[in-house]
Each structure stands twice: as structure tokens, then as C-alpha cells.
Amino acid sequence: MLWKLTKFELKKVLKSKFFLIAAVLLLLVNMFLSGPEELDRWKYFGSAREATEQEQKVYDKLASLTPEEKADFEKAMIQKYGEDILDSYILPTQELTQLPGYFGDEISDYNALSNRELLRIINEPVQRFRGNVVSRAKFFGREAVLSGSKYEIRRNLQILSLYSAPIQEATHPIYGWKDYLFSGTPMLMSLLLILLLCAGIFTKEKEQGTWPLLQTSKYGQGKTLAAKFLAGDIGAAIITILFHASTLLMVYLNYGLMGGTQLMYSTQPMELFPFSITVWQFALIDLLCKIFAAVMASILLCVISSLSKNSVISYGVGTIVLGGCVLLTLFPPDSEWLAGPLTLSRTQWYFDTYYTANIFGYPVLWAAVQAVLWSLLAAFLIVLSHKVHNRKRSRL
């Protein structure tokens, strides 16, 4: 029955003309804004994706080379173009760009050499940054041993074990995924629509006069309330997925996607990412965290709506609460504990610096603890809303 009631609630939302128009418009705006910033926003569906697909072939070829074949290639290039060709910035001369190149008719020597150079530029900072972390952890670990601080010793050992593991060098640069992962636009757009979906979910019933009818109905004892909360949560999750999927689609259409199977630490500014997770796996985790944040926002807004007298109050208070939560993600407070329920929508914060290893010694643990605490608060708010709902019902 709960599922049936939830379906009715969702149907009710979808029947609202204003909601549908707002959803379509916001989705279109989100897609318009999802193009890579360095390209002209007004020139969509250009040749950038085709260029990415072409480059993918070159990187695939370079990745398939054995160390011996790689050494042969480098030797041949030195013989043909001179000693400096492997160590300097390469200009596309006629000799370098002519076909066939070393790898045949499709790849010129310029493409092969410049792509090899780009991979070196990607891999070099990863090695350097992780090397710096290891040397600092050794230094601080040594001081911790001298001072006898057990916590510091354990922490530095954890950092050492995380960052000393041999890294896998990138074989492809990461195109497109970065624009998707580090863009805050789809989440903000989703939150706007979630505000429209949830802030009026109870107050509209009150304004239409159907609230007393619902409260005196057979399933009024909590099930209607639960269905409304569930509809808000499912709606919030669907909206978040829809906006992020549309962003990914637009990035793919504009720019193409490459490097999804590379490890996350090959992506700037995530060089200090401590785990061996690929980019697409991280994108999935990131999406799950964003869905969690959206559900938290929907619960907050539903609670506000259930406690408000009319739509103006619920939208007003909802806007202030949501605005405050967004402000906390834009200007993070000194204490991470005050970062608000939307902090989990910016997953990369937990991994872009080795300082995060300070929190319980493990960055993921911090995010998980936050999620549990916010879930507990949400559960408390739902119970509070249920109590108020029941008290009002008994007064009728």
C-alpha cells in the first residue's frame, strides 16, 4: 500500500504544469551550461569529440606497446629527428606531421611524440607529489617517534602505507570526466528543482483543503506521511540522476570522454587520491554521495513543509535552509563538523589533500561518519514530523 501511495504522490507532482515546465527549463539550462568552459558555450557539437576519438586511437596504440617496442620507438625517433626530440617541446613541422609515421598511415610522428610528452606531464606531478608526502611523513614520523606520540606515529604510518604503494602510470589523459566531476552546476540545479518538489508537498494539501481529509482517511495514520517523504526522496534521487546524466551526455557530445579506466590520481587536482580507484568508479561513488545529499535536502524540505502553515512559509524557510547549506559548501567553515548536509555532494574534498588522512586516519571513514550522523538527524526529523502530524490528527 505504501508503494501505491508513493506512486500517487509522484503522479500528483508530475501533473503539476508549473513543475513540469520548470523541470524542462532547468534541464535545458543545465545542458546548456554543461559544455567545457574553455570552449565557446554557443558552439555545440563541434569537432572536439571527433578529435578526442582520434586521439584515443593514438593513446591506445602507445598503451599497447611493450617496453622493448617503446625503447625501439624512442631510438628510431632520436635517429630520425635528433637527440632533443624526446625532451623538448615539439613544434608541428612538416617533417613531423607527414604520413605515414612510425606507427603507420593513421598516426603521424608528431601525434605520437606529443601524446607521449603529455603523458609524461600527467605522470610526473603524481610521482613528485606522492614522493613529497612520503618524505614529509617520514620526517614527521621520525619526530613522532622522538616525542613518543602514538597517535602521530600511527597516522604517519598510515600515510606511508597509503602513499608508498607503487603507482600505475596513466596511459591515457582524462578528457571530459573532469568537466563532469568537478562541475557544481548539475547539483545546484537539482537542488533548485528539489526545492520546488518538496517545499510544497504538504502545504499544497493544506491550501487546497485536502489535508484534513487525508488525515482522517484509512491510511492517515502515518502511511500518507511516509508516502510523501518517500515520494520526495525518490523524486530527489531521480532528479539528481537525471541532471548528472544530462551533464555527462552533454560533455560527451561536446568534448568526448577519454580516460575513464585510468586511476583517479592521474586527474589533476586529485594527485593525492590515496586509493586505486578508476575515474568511472569514482564518478559512480560521487553520484551516490550526491544522491545521498539530495535525499537529505529533500527530507529537510519535507519536514519544513510538514511543519509550515502555508506555501509561502515553507518555500521561504526552505530557501533559507537550502541557501545556508549551499553557502556552507561554497565557504566551508573551519570545523568540518559544521559543514552541513550538502558537504557530501563535494566528494573530492575528502581526497584532494593528504591532510584528510588526519581524520580518524582514513578519509573515507570521515565521510561515512558524516553520512551516518546526517541519516540519524533525518530519521529524528521524520519522527518529529510524524508526532506533529499525529497530534494534529487527534485534534481534528
Binding site: 539550462v29 568552459e37 506555501s311 509561502v312 518555500y315 521561504g316 565557504f331
Partner: protein, 351 residues
């Protein structure tokens, strides 16, 4: 009491507009008082060292200061980078205990100064990239100003929230209470009522915007964020690439002035829109979209109210082209005027 007085009483007292405004301004005051200073995390670790550097370098950037910062930073790096080597040398007795102790002292001092030195090296690098045709930038305590301009990245949500709620109380509230047909059939219920409601809303918005801006400046001044207001805007990191000479104080005054004017224009636009969107909740949502979406458009955002309400976008537009900002303001004025005129005509026509 004339129509204006009645409308002011209705907006302020009956519909609790003054209460909403008061609560929003109070919330803003609390927010401003507790808003954390946007300090570099490295300063938190080395505040004294940072203060020492600043007292030595404070003032205009010169070639001597740049050379000194560079040499100091190189010395620090040398002392820290050679630790492993010196440690091994001391373990193998290749250096004496005194030499090792001297080295340890030098390294400790370098570690202490490293954060502050890095901050000033970054500043020096920023300044070295600036055009030599501009007056030189200044080394100042910039984190106060950075906090001031950090809040200019987003519109004044507290004030605008009150304005949105007040606009939503004008005609949508009359429609929801069933008063609109009665008002339309009254003697002064068409153009005069529309004009008086609009003017009252604009007057209240203007007063609130002036109070809000003044309060913001006063709180920041009392918190000591606005030191060296005569330093060029490009002395602080977020505007290091700003291509025009303008002082920090003047830039902030432009932002506040623009906010006040555009808040009034935004209220006028919402008022016109409220004739078409009579549902208060839908009007609130539309207003939030009008405010929020232009923030994603970069420089093009200054052609919308939302963009013009952000001081940073206003300053960036001012820096990028002489005509962009007046053109953006003109567009916002025209947009508000169109909504007000269309709203007036729709109201004149009746239900």
C-alpha cells in the same frame, strides 16, 4: 491617510513585511558577525611569522622587495631540502656535531618561516606578472578584503529573500485571499492601486538595501577587514589580473551601489511578474531561478539581475570592457521596465 500610506501599512504591518525584513536583516547581521575570515590555512600555522614578513614588506611592491623575497625563499628551500643528506652525513660522522646543530637550527628556522615565505613568494609572482604601466600593487593584509569580496560572489540573499517575500505578498496574496476581483472593481483599484503598491515596494526595498549595505560595511569595518582601502584592487589575489587601476575602497563602494540599484530593479521586475504568476510559491521559485541561474554565465551574467547583484561579476565586467557594465545595467533596467509595463497593462485589463 492616502493610498500610499494604506499600502505601506498593509505591506509592513498587516502582511508582516517589516517583521520579515527585520528578521532577514538580523540573520544577515549574525551571518556577518560569525562569517569566518577567508584566511590562508598556512597563516593559521604561522601567524607570527606572517606578521613579521608583512611588517617588513608592507607598502608598494618594488624590485628590491621582490629580490629579497626570492632570495629568502631559496634559502629556506635549501635548508629544508638538504635534510636527508645532512642527516646521513651526521650519522656517518662526515660533519661535526656543531655543524649538525647549526644546520638543525637553520632548518628549524626555515620550517618556521616556510609558510609565510611561500605566501609572499606567491604574491611576488602575482605582482611580477602585472602590467608595468599600472601603479604598483601593495603588500597588505589582504585576507580581510578577501573575506569582504568573497561575500560579493553571491547576491545578498537575506535582503533579496525579504524582497521576494514582500513582492509575493502584493498581488498573489490578494488573489489567494479572494480580494483581487473586489479591488479590480473598486474606484482606484486599477492603475492607481498598481502604482501605489509598486512605489511602496520600491521605497521599502531601497531603504532596506541602503540599511543592508551600510550594515555590511560597518560590520566589516568593525571586524578590521577593511584596512588599507587606498591600495589598488589588484593587490589582492582574487583580482590579481584586474587590468584597471581602482582602489579597494572604491571597488567595494561600486559593488554596494550596484547592489542597491539592482535590488530595486529586481523588486520592480518581480512586482510586474507577480501579476502573471499569481501563485506565491511559484513566484518565489521563479525569483530564485532569476537570481541563481545568471551566476553560472560568467561575464554574460551581468546582463541579468542575478549577475549584477554579485559584486565580483560587476568588477570583472568593469575590468574586461568599458561598455559591458553600462550595457548590462541598461538591459536590466529595460527588462524591469518591460515587466512593469506588461504587468500594468495586464492589471488594467482585469481578470
Amino acid at each position: 491617510m492616502n493610498l500610499y500610506g494604506y499600502e505601506l501599512k498593509k505591506l509592513g504591518r498587516t502582511q508582516k513585511g517589516f517583521l520579515i525584513l527585520g528578521v532577514c536583516l538580523l540573520l544577515k547581521l549574525l551571518f556577518l558577525c560569525f562569517f569566518p575570515e577567508q584566511k590562508d590555512s598556512r597563516i593559521l600555522l604561522s601567524q607570527k611569522q606572517y606578521d613579521n614578513y608583512l611588517s617588513q614588506l608592507h607598502g608598494f611592491n618594488t624590485q628590491e622587495k621582490m629580490d629579497w623575497i626570492q632570495a629568502d625563499n631559496q634559502n629556506i628551500h635549501w635548508a629544508i631540502d638538504n635534510f636527508e643528506q645532512m642527516y646521513q652525513d651526521s650519522q656517518q660522522n662526515l660533519i661535526s656535531d656543531d655543524e649538525w646543530q647549526d644546520y638543525v637550527d637553520a632548518r628549524d628556522s626555515a620550517c618556521l618561516r616556510q609558510n609565510a615565505s611561500e605566501i609572499f613568494t606567491e604574491k611576488m609572482e602575482q605582482f611580477s606578472l602585472q602590467s608595468w604601466t599600472l601603479p604598483p600593487a601593495q603588500y597588505i593584509y589582504e585576507y580581510g578584503w578577501r573575506t569582504v569580496f568573497a561575500l560579493q560572489k553571491v547576491p545578498d540573499i537575506f535582503l533579496l529573500f525579504a524582497v521576494i517575500l514582500m513582492a509575493a505578498q502584493c498581488f498573489p496574496a490578494e488573489a489567494a485571499e479572494g480580494m483581487l476581483p473586489i479591488l479590480l472593481s473598486a474606484k482606484d483599484g486599477r492603475w492607481r492601486l498598481y502604482r501605489s503598491k509598486l512605489l511602496v515596494l520600491l521605497a521599502v526595498t531601497l531603504t532596506a538595501a541602503i540599511v543592508s549595505g551600510g550594515m555590511e560595511a560597518a560590520v566589516f569595518a568593525l571586524r578590521g577587514f577593511m584596512v588599507d582601502p587606498k591600495a589598488p584592487l589588484y593587490s589582492i589575489t582574487p583580482f590579481a589580473e584586474f587590468p584597471v587601476y581602482i582602489t579597494l575602497g572604491k571597488a567595494y563602494a561600486i559593488c554596494l551601489g550596484m547592489r542597491t540599484v539592482v535590488a530595486v530593479l529586481f523588486a520592480a521586475m518581480l512586482f510586474g511578474l507577480s501579476i502573471f504568476i499569481k501563485n506565491a510559491a511559484n513566484l518565489i521559485f521563479t525569483a530564485i531561478c532569476f537570481l541563481g541561474l545568471p551566476l553560472f554565465l560568467g561575464n554574460a551574467g551581468v546582463f541579468f539581475h542575478g549577475g549584477l547583484l554579485c559584486g565580483n561579476q560587476v568588477l570583472l565586467a568593469k575590468g574586461s570592457s568599458a561598455s559591458l557594465l553600462p550595457l548590462g545595467l541598461l538591459t536590466a533596467v529595460l527588462c524591469s521596465a518591460v515587466f512593469v509595463i506588461l504587468g500594468a497593462r495586464r492589471h488594467q485589463r482585469g481578470l
